[in-house]
Symmetry: C2
Subunit: 305 residues, 2 copies
Amino acid sequence: MAIFSDARAEDTRPIKSTTGADISLAARTNALTSPTSGLAPTFLQANLVILPSRYASDFRLLCARNPVPCPLIAESISIGCWSSVTSFIPGLEGAAILSDCDIRRDVSKYIVYKNSKIMKQGCLDILDEWTDDYVALLIGCSFSFESALIVAGLPPRHTALNRNVPIYRTNIPLCPAGVFTGSTYVVSMRSYKASEVEKVREITRPYTATHGEPIAWGWGAVKRLGIEDIDAPTWGEPPLTQDGRPLGEVEGKDHDVPVFWGCGVTPMEAVARSGLEGVVMTHDPGHMLLLDCRDSDIVPAACVA
Amino acid sequence: MAIFSDARAEDTRPIKSTTGADISLAARTNALTSPTSGLAPTFLQANLVILPSRYASDFRLLCARNPVPCPLIAESISIGCWSSVTSFIPGLEGAAILSDCDIRRDVSKYIVYKNSKIMKQGCLDILDEWTDDYVALLIGCSFSFESALIVAGLPPRHTALNRNVPIYRTNIPLCPAGVFTGSTYVVSMRSYKASEVEKVREITRPYTATHGEPIAWGWGAVKRLGIEDIDAPTWGEPPLTQDGRPLGEVEGKDHDVPVFWGCGVTPMEAVARSGLEGVVMTHDPGHMLLLDCRDSDIVPAACVA
């Protein structure tokens, strides 16, 4: 299933430094159609899953049982509501994290599934699909802690090289919840020197609303997660070392080791693989929903740019 | 590591039907030294982990990241306090779930670890070990939903046969948290007919404070979890079918399939396997801490005995 569009290649991002609301408005008016990585720095970005209301409670339970890959940070304030969400972010419960929004249009690209198969990908809005029976659910995104890593002098290689983060399907089972069964963790990967891993764990640990600390690291983790080839990610772009070599080539040498985090593609996979009937929508990976709150709101003590 | 004592063999339990507080008092005065399964029906039973305060915040994070095997339901109201706990049980936050207690004596048997190795097992109290620096952390226990299964006409085989529940170490990694790395899920197993599994999932689903619905089921799950021999559990007693045959003998036949739940031995394993320095204490598995609240307090709508 190719649900991750390869959009970093052409870097035509029109807006360099602005607020989350500016990005949402640009997406709403179709002035923005590119991915959102790096846009509106320090503003939180969220994964988006839109479900018929009958699936919402099982999905909430899926997130509660698997908070590392599926941190549920907000949802529609009521069934059918596309203009307001309730925040569950620790410390920001009930806060206005997304004001003046239209969830049907504020993402630059969406995917529409019908009976668990992709029906449309890359659509600019879901005005035709939305009905009064839908619930929008927002999942934290690891872009947040990347700012903190950069500030600490530990920038992820893919940001330095202006590439997409590599993302892998694993064989680690999710704890099932109601209709959501048979799915597995999806992980994002950023490579670091082995000597840097403890520092990287420490920096990302407080970001509990956006996947927190890594779930595994080192070359042994590749096998344990069931990843066949580190140089062939399921989504995103193959990882390169600082000097531009494929990461897999340096295995066993005194160089980078892979470090894996829970990834917000996990709940999208769970939705796609659970055989749900009817129409379900998500953002197109990389094209996130921008929020009004900032990294420093979710980790007040963290030193973010 | 043999941390599960084989105590059901002699059923010398002195108290058949009473309250959680009665059981705690009996343990405190050493009138009770047997396991607690089946005692004070409907009263919640908890797993107990007692850590030096420096490890408490990482342990909380371990529980938050792995809520299915490690549902943290309460902890010492302050560092060094053995007489009162703060409840985190959904709907009972801050409630008096354990009044008039002495956590150093109210469990019938304890284990003491030093530098991650068992130093003493089966001790009747931990008065000598407790200092002002310890924090007691309580983890939900699946005995709770067993009452609900019995009421629904789906009694676990081990309760009907008066045996210990079989418990297995798996190869499913826990999400690490700070010092707690490198550990895996531990699961309890109750076998059911394949046609009963959906009903069993439904009945146990609401018990989120006590592991909730199963994490895996069916014969394929045995391999996926990395369990080598269903008839050789890591702890507890080998599972038997209704007619007394080893469960593994009926694989592939129209008979029971294994159903696996997250198990409160998981956090004990994590504590034992994380190389913690100093003295750590837990209950001796099967010898749980009894609470004042009841199954019906945590799942109000559930029909429990």
